[in-house]
Assembly symmetry: C2
Homo-oligomer: 451 residues x 2
Amino acid sequence: MKNLVIIGGSDAGISAALRAREIDPEIRPTMIVADNFPNFSICGLPYYISHDVTHWKNLAHRTREDVEKEGINLLLEHTAQSINTQSKQVTITDKTGTLKSLNYDKLIIGTGAISMRPNIPGLNHPGVFFLRWIPDSIAIDEHIKKHSPKTAVIIGAGYIGMEMSEALTKRGLTVSIVEFADSVMPSFDADFGNRIRDMLIHNGILVYNKIAVESINTIDKRLVVKGTGNLELPADMVLVSVGSVPNTALGQSIGINTGTKGAFKVNLKMETNIPDVYAAGDCAETWNRILQKYTYLPLGTVAHKQGRIAGENATGGSREFSGSLGTQSVKVFDKVIARTGLNEKEARDAGFQPVSTDFETWDHKVYYPPAEKLYIKVTADRTTKRILGAQMLGAYKTEVSKRIDIFATAIYHGIMVNEFSNYDLSYTPPLSSPWDPVQMAVQMIEKELKT
Amino acid sequence: MKNLVIIGGSDAGISAALRAREIDPEIRPTMIVADNFPNFSICGLPYYISHDVTHWKNLAHRTREDVEKEGINLLLEHTAQSINTQSKQVTITDKTGTLKSLNYDKLIIGTGAISMRPNIPGLNHPGVFFLRWIPDSIAIDEHIKKHSPKTAVIIGAGYIGMEMSEALTKRGLTVSIVEFADSVMPSFDADFGNRIRDMLIHNGILVYNKIAVESINTIDKRLVVKGTGNLELPADMVLVSVGSVPNTALGQSIGINTGTKGAFKVNLKMETNIPDVYAAGDCAETWNRILQKYTYLPLGTVAHKQGRIAGENATGGSREFSGSLGTQSVKVFDKVIARTGLNEKEARDAGFQPVSTDFETWDHKVYYPPAEKLYIKVTADRTTKRILGAQMLGAYKTEVSKRIDIFATAIYHGIMVNEFSNYDLSYTPPLSSPWDPVQMAVQMIEKELKT
């Protein structure tokens, strides 16, 4: 194998290239990057807007030079225009529009996703933003600097909505969040989402649930977000963060099949239906380990895993993606919320007989102040006694995110409720208790199920 | 089963009683407690001395009333004097010396351990302390209040030595630690121990390694610790923390077999060789899950697990202890050190072909300040590619202890090096990176082993 070409220079693409180099140091992958920002942490954009990050250049996981030093041939500001699967060539243009052609033996497509644009009027008004790429965050930052907006409306209460509510509050804006679902963070159960909502309100955020946004208008040079129930929210800026859609046009043009939410269909080796063409990251479907079916889950962690597998397999390997559990964590103000596996509703929808415990405890021994409140909702299947998922809310810096990872690791291995307390977890009074809170929560279910 | 009698009211005993009540709500276990402190957190004693804990009463996991409310019959300040296995009776005395007799159907012995007293002269001098029980910590606190000591020598650089070096520094003392081994924290590899030693020195602790203490003398009303290499350390107080020995006299008197370090031999059901008599906690041996043999590992986490199993089995269950990995964590000054499984030396001694990576990284994305340095030493077996253990050092509040628990959970399931990156661990820039540091560390080994 001589020519490995990768389209896309974000998480999936870089992971693929690095892994290919590990497997076969003779290979020099060529990476086509549409913009000038290879290997940037798009998850860090809210922290650039909050000014926690001092310069957007710091958001690079690796600099251009770092990437090139790894033996990767970077083509920045080049766009893949077409692929010829017969001659195995990719046609690209540079920023002057000059056409070039690249031969490939193996091709990895990591074209990512784009922001979802809901079907409402007004998205193009000045002051209405999306947040996905570096230029988006620069535009928002400049808008705040130039116009000193006082109020912002965020449409969509997912992860970006959470992080941006904190970021904009830090920049001095009064923030409203408008969400279609019953509560915030729809990937959590509604009862848990209510805890998150209360935390947001405690931090000065105005939260509007069960609202379908109908339009964004301008009145007297101000924006006004209108929604169901006669909601009218004036704002000096609006952020639309309602999800993302896979960027698949190029791949579809060569006949790559698409599935869930239009993402590329791939097998566990990250192969598409086109010979020698792989897809990975936000443009591709994600195998869900518990549901045992394909889903769409555009996350950086998944993109890294899928990219690494595509890179290995494009270099002669035969590794399989073991699936995602939808593990996610997010810091919002002084709290961290995290989840893995299935929540109770997802479990019920998938045909399980879920039993859940909403457990409240301290993150560590309360005699060593300050201990902080920790909420854990564990969901198990009443029939098989298998742990299906966990949701957690606790204070920043109290190990919430790595506690969810204990569940993620356990669920990966298919742990049963009555085996979970076998884990030899660490304890010291400033950090835990002799049974870690995660074990205490599962013991509640053990009692309930009498196992 | 009618009468469940438990000797000992610390971690193992309480866990046994609580679990027995869960399994069979008809049972009212009788618990014989020698002192007046049932269910106290002896792991918290250093924090009472440091004054992080405001009153020693706060160290109770549960108050006496809490314990009794759980349906447990508490006999405080009662001592078990003898056991008649024929008539199935325990003879006890109260604090006046009055004899009583208790019938048992099942008996659980959780008599714990006592501080090891090394074979050197001078242990009885005023100002020489051990730390195991509440009265020890009160004595140390009163000594400091009364005599305002300026300097302390701690003999033994294990967990208690670490915690007490911080506690006594907080109380204004200059602290020296004297340790027989090559470095501090002998349950870590020496190279990792050196990092810990450097951290102690950075915090003003004087560290003396490879010293065998020969005597504690008094000269001009001051204590002087003398050791090999002509070491002479004057001190206003001395803490001897060189480990613990199982408290087994009562059990031995009825013929319970003892094994490693004199601890009670038990099977995985926590049964001793005497019918209807169980042992759990610091008085009993501990099955090591990786070594597949019995060891002695007096830890609160293990005591809780063993007690819970003894309580379940004494009530008709048949649960087996799944073994310990020796998981431990400790906060020292502004750092946390943690370990699980086998270190490199232990792995080699056990006949494995260890391969280790000493990996240094940041606890989370460095663009979100402040990120903190994290050191991870992972050890795997070159032959089987199985992960055997991990050691970690990082800043307090950067999820070090629950990161070691990801390893503890993974090693429980026998994870292989090339499967570890499959785990769907959480990521958000303020708390991790798209590959968590634990996965990056294992990927170093993957490269090394070319798996």
